[in-house]
Amino acid sequence: MALAAHFNLILLRLRLQLRNSYYRSPYVSSVNSPFNLSKITIINATRIRRLQLGCYYCVSNSHSYTSSSSSSSSHLDAKSYLQLSDGELMKQCEMSTFKASGPGGQHRNKRESAVRLKHLPTGVIAQAVEDRSQHKNRASALRRLRTLLALKVRNPVDVDAYSPPLELLQILPLKSTVRGAESGPQIGPNNPKFVLGMQALIDLIFAVEGSISEAAKILGLSTGALSRLILSDDSLRMAVNDLRASKDLKPLK
């Protein structure tokens, strides 16, 4: 309960900040922008019209699939977003509900408790409508936002000096030769920690231009084993296939 209340508190603060035009769009280039986006590339997702997640998102105009290799002082990179607590991540979001038409309040019997979260630093939007309570829809939208950030926001990877981060090792099957016993049991798609590993995996596949065999070699797996991992999660599969399509590679099936 304390957590839920805290979550709400942050929502309210956020709302108040927005009222005061505290935030400016990160896409408006400005020296005062609180977020340095130089290291972050948003996948141009115009072709992925909608992931099968029940979420919609807005698309940045960046067409670039490449990421800057500069490793200078970025305040927040894509991985950091996912490491934020729910409350901290909410602070970076604008929340709105739907059906603003009419006076609302007591005038209406309202069952549309849809919630839409826009992550201001990246423009990624997640939405949830299926639950009866706005409260629960907020929590679902936030979970989806994490997945979408993992799928759409890329961190640069230096392939030559690469060693897989722990969060990636944790989602690999136990037979991976680069995976030590300290990585613990394999984390599956239903574990909230999976998104962090998924993001690192897409970063790597992105860095090797979509080649599953290259990535598999680096991760100490057979191509088949890595393919199976990618196919085990719908959103991961779609993100990888989309990336491959952009490189004129055949989709994994």
Binding site: L12, T97, P103, G104, N109, R111, Q134, K136
Partner: protein, 347 residues
């Protein structure tokens, strides 16, 4: 009090306490469908037939309700239909599309036909049909005679929590929820208070008092929340200057809007909980004056309003008529960006 009762009698649907039953039977709260025992058996084939029939009705509505009075369209009705099914099944996740097995329901198949007919033909609110409303992380029992809590009002609990976290003494103090209805605000706030914090929830309507009492006990808050029947501040005599916080979602719809309300609201919800008099400000003004008397120094109030105009009028009223009594007066928007709440602090 007199005024309120008169309003109740003028309300478009008489509430069922005109008979001479003893009051304990009279105000026995209804149990939401999802909490009833699964005492009815049916086959999944029969349930599918019902579902198809009900869906047909929902489809026939199209956008006609939405066009007429901003009511629900087919999509929303279909979503509600699935929720009704979930609440009625012993196992809400059971897939009725499978084979023809026997399953247990929490309400009879006949009732399901009857209830969905009421939903479509009489526009009876979905929440009264299933007997509950999901609000924040709570599931509150509701029934005819009690206002269905709205999503906007959830924000009052957030604001209360915000104030309490800034000033811990508020969380250990006494709070009031005026016109509590289903008890939503009292329960939401009761769960965020510290160990010594207490809430008094008042309502003029005996149905609201019994429903709130039921909801309070469902959440095990009997020691935190006291429910009192009476008009606004009347049950709080003797507590002048004692309250750390006062919250309310009072009736604020201008009387002139009442005949044109969405059918679910205007035909079924209690006018007593909606009609704020000409201009809609009668009770809000009363609450503002009462807050000046009842709040202790540093005490916090939050009231829901009809929108920007009422917010402005209240802030003006407090600055002029109650000059020097309040500070930090603010209008706060809801998530649809309508100035929905007025907040302030007693000096």
């Amino acid at each position: 009090m007199k005024l309120g009762l008169t309003r109740a009698c003028f309300g478009c649907r008489p509430i069922c306490y005109t008979t001479s039953l003893p009051s304990s039977t009279l105000n026995k709260p209804q149990i939401p469908i999802f909490l009833r025992p699964p005492a009815y058996s049916a086959t999944s084939l029969d349930l599918r037939k019902w579902h198809e029939w009900a869906k047909g009705l929902a489809v026939s509505v199209g956008s006609s309700f939405a066009d007429a009075d901003n009511g629900p369209d087919t999509n929303l009705l279909c979503r509600e239909l699935n929720w009704l099914l979930q609440d009625s099944l012993e196992d809400p996740k059971h897939d009725i599309r499978q084979s023809n097995e026997s399953l247990m329901l929490r309400t009879s198949l006949d009732d399901l036909y009857h209830l969905w007919k009421q939903r479509i033909e009489q526009r009876r609110p979905f929440q009264y049909i299933v007997g509950c409303e999901h609000w924040r992380d709570l599931v509150l029992s509701v029934q005819e005679g009690v206002l269905i809590p709205r999503p906007e009002t959830e924000l009052i609990v957030d604001m209360a929590f915000d104030e309490i976290s800034k000033n811990e003494s508020l969380g250990q103090g006494l709070w009031a929820d005026m016109g509590t209805g289903s008890g939503a605000l009292a329960i939401g706030i009761g769960r965020t208070l510290g160990t010594r914090g207490r809430v008094i929830a008042t309502d003029l309507s005996p149905v609201a008092v019994s429903v709130t009492t039921y909801n309070v006990s469902r959440y095990g808050l009997q020691d935190v929340i006291e429910v009192k029947q009476g008009s606004w501040f009347e049950p709080l005599k003797g507590f002048e200057g004692k309250f750390a916080g006062i919250v309310s979602n009072p009736p604020y719809i201008p009387s002139e809007h009442i005949p044109k309300l969405q059918a679910e609201v205007g035909r079924h919800e209690p006018t007593l909980a909606l009609d704020g008099g000409v201009g809609g400000m009668d009770y809000l003004i009363h609450l503002c004056s009462g807050a000046a008397t009842m709040l202790r120094g540093g005490g916090f109030f939050m009231f829901e309003t009809n929108g920007e105009e009422q917010c402005k009028l209240i802030i003006d009223f407090m600055k002029n008529e109650l000059a020097g009594r309040f500070c930090n007066l603010n209008a706060v928007p809801d998530f649809s960006d309508i100035q929905r709440f007025v907040t302030g602090v007693r000096r």
